[in-house]
């Protein structure tokens, strides 16, 4: 079998995606495609589109589901592990090292100032994501349904203190079980 060589190829391909892929999982898909379809021909364009569509039917980060699946297809269990580790491990180590050094010197005034200054930046990034998700939600469900669902969910989660897992779980169940008609259904938690 060509497994051993294939696993190294998988490792380096997804290592590159992990190192150059900024902006979270969904933003990395074009890079995955460049390695998997264009460079190594592990999948055809259509297969890649199918894998992406299948990945999107499941929850969780897309940038680990795709490497895991492609790694498994090309190099079996070892290939799967190699691909996933290559894409996630380098930057996990970087996070632990950098934040470890940072929190060791938290008592120093200017280090603390640096920590405080990134909070507004994260606020803006989160606001961008909020807008992005509302915008997509508006496109799919319309303005009113999105707003009502958001308000009902906010009341359940933050006012009544229900765990978000129950609210989202109930919505997922409703989406799955309701006949494929076009009617909307609220969070029937």
């Amino acid at each position: 079998m060509k497994t051993r060589g294939a696993c190294w190829q998988l490792f380096w391909a997804f290592f590159r995606v992990g190192i150059f892929g900024f902006g979270g999982g969904p933003a990395m898909i074009p890079l995955v495609r460049a390695e998997v379809v264009t460079r190594h021909h592990w999948l055809t364009d259509e297969e890649f589109a199918d894998v992406l569509a299948i990945g999107n039917t499941l929850p969780g980060p897309i940038a680990t589901k795709m490497p895991g699946y492609i790694g498994y297809r090309v190099g079996g269990v070892i290939g799967c592990i190699a691909a996933v580790i290559a894409i996630i491990l380098p930057m996990i180590v970087a996070m632990i090292v950098m934040l470890g050094i940072f929190s060791r010197y938290r008592d120093v005034a200017w280090i603390r100032g640096m920590g405080q200054a990134v909070v507004p930046v994260v606020m803006v990034m989160m606001a961008q994501l909020t807008w992005d998700f509302f915008d997509k939600s508006k496109a799919a469900l319309g303005w009113w349904v999105s707003i009502v669902m958001a308000i009902v969910a906010a009341g359940l989660i933050y006012w009544l203190g229900i765990h978000p897992g129950w609210v989202i779980g109930a919505i997922l169940a409703a989406a799955l079980l309701r006949p494929a008609g076009k009617k909307k259904a609220e969070g029937s938690a």
């Binding site: 999982g25 996070m95 280090i111 507004p120 961008q128 989202i168 919505i171």
Partner: protein
């Protein structure tokens, strides 16, 4: 016990979070800051800032670091495994089934219907970061950094890493 809690704290957000890694952030915050109190809003924001400045998927970076903070290397391993393995096994195991239903309206509806809830939780988290910053840095610094960051990110599409570095320089020189 701590390993089990870590597993749950990352398993639940990843098994209900449709919309890729970013959708999972507010769900993880609800566990890590809200439920288990492992991190303050401040340290969570710092983690997220560095996470956004570095490449590779955000969900696994957060899991790895939070897991390490809470319970060392073993904790990092558990948190990352809880993030990656369950949905990956589902994908490998139920591939035929998923393949048949990849264009199903019901499946599309699942991610569509979850989106407003995720958006609302993201808005809530945005508000939390704002209150945190007003509290620790004051209104003036919050406004200056927030507005400059918004212009850089939205208007000029500046890479998040540069915006974070800019904020670090401002924070190191001006806030103390």
């Amino acid at each position: 016990m701590i390993y089990w809690e870590l597993f749950l704290a990352f398993f639940i957000p990843n098994i209900i979070g449709y919309g890729g890694g970013p959708a999972i952030i507010p769900l993880i915050e609800a566990e890590v800051v809200g439920r288990y109190d492992w991190m303050t809003a401040q340290t969570f924001a710092e983690t997220l800032a560095l996470g956004n400045a570095l490449p590779s998927p955000i969900a696994t970076k957060m899991a790895g670091y939070v897991g390490y903070e809470v319970a060392g290397i073993g904790g990092a391993f558990i948190a990352v495994a809880a993030t990656v393995i369950p949905t990956l096994l589902l994908m490998l195991g139920a591939l035929g089934l998923l393949y048949r239903h990849r264009d199903s309206p019901r499946v599309k509806r699942m991610s569509q219907w979850v989106r407003p809830v995720i958006a609302m939780m993201m808005a809530w988290l945005t508000l939390g970061f704002m209150l945190e910053s007003l509290n620790t840095s004051g209104a003036l610094h919050t406004a200056i950094i927030g507005i400059v960051a918004a212009i850089a990110l939205i208007r000029f599409n500046t890479h998040p890493a540069f915006v974070v570095i800019g904020a670090l320089i401002y924070g190191g020189l001006i806030i103390p």
